[in-house]
Symmetry: C2
Amino acid sequence: MSVAPVKFHPRQSVEQVEEGIDLAPKFDDRGLITVVTTDADTGELLMQGYMNAEALSLTINTGEAHYYSRSREVLWHKGATSGFVQTVRELLVDDDQDCVWLRVEVAGGASCHVGYRSCFYRRVPVGSAFEQQHTDGHIDLEWTDTEKVFDPQAVYGDVPNPTIL
Amino acid sequence: MSVAPVKFHPRQSVEQVEEGIDLAPKFDDRGLITVVTTDADTGELLMQGYMNAEALSLTINTGEAHYYSRSREVLWHKGATSGFVQTVRELLVDDDQDCVWLRVEVAGGASCHVGYRSCFYRRVPVGSAFEQQHTDGHIDLEWTDTEKVFDPQAVYGDVPNPTIL
């Protein structure tokens, strides 16, 4: 696949960044931009990750989601190991261009290394539900999805778990 | 409103964090956790922000979204200035508990300080659309929402713009 380079504009003014047509992303002091990835059909939040400039450029070029793995410190073509490639149907930037929203279709239907469809499979009781549940201020999470789409051991084998305590 | 303190669990093991019922959020070296806020009805991504421990605790207690403003360096009750309060219908955490997902209802229907309904009102052409548009590698953003819900000048007046170049 030929990969034409994407050129980002320098950030010159608030008006340019917020109300213009220039793509002028703000990478933080680690060189990263925040990424929010939702299911293009259901709107479900699948994962939240990061891109460096190379990952953003490759995503725009190829139409497949690329991230930067902070735990492994490498460019990360999502699905390269698991097969769960994310095809980008729409990519949007926010007002100050320090966040990217990917609306994707997921091959195989899974996005979470733990095995669930989404990384967000537990709910925190809020407001009156919190009042009803809490006794000493500690909270019990509520499961919203208990069925794993795949077996992480079978898919990832000995690949180290990315979660950092 | 009485505000009972929320107690977070210490992070002790990957299994506890990923597969347990303990709320054990990971705040980064700035004391912040990433927040993704979507419209509870439409699934639209409204904004991406941050919380410190106090903001997360207040959100859980009150059922209204509180953030930490990095530009203003203050606790931020969303809507305190604009009136666009976000009522949290559901709050979820991700696998490694370093991200919070808020599904909200927004009073007044606006979440973006620029005046749009969502902060994500511009699209980046991806894949074949990028190939068709780009000539020198620069990208023209495409507007997805051109109608402002409110007039930022009327709502915020002289409050400084939060966008940092």
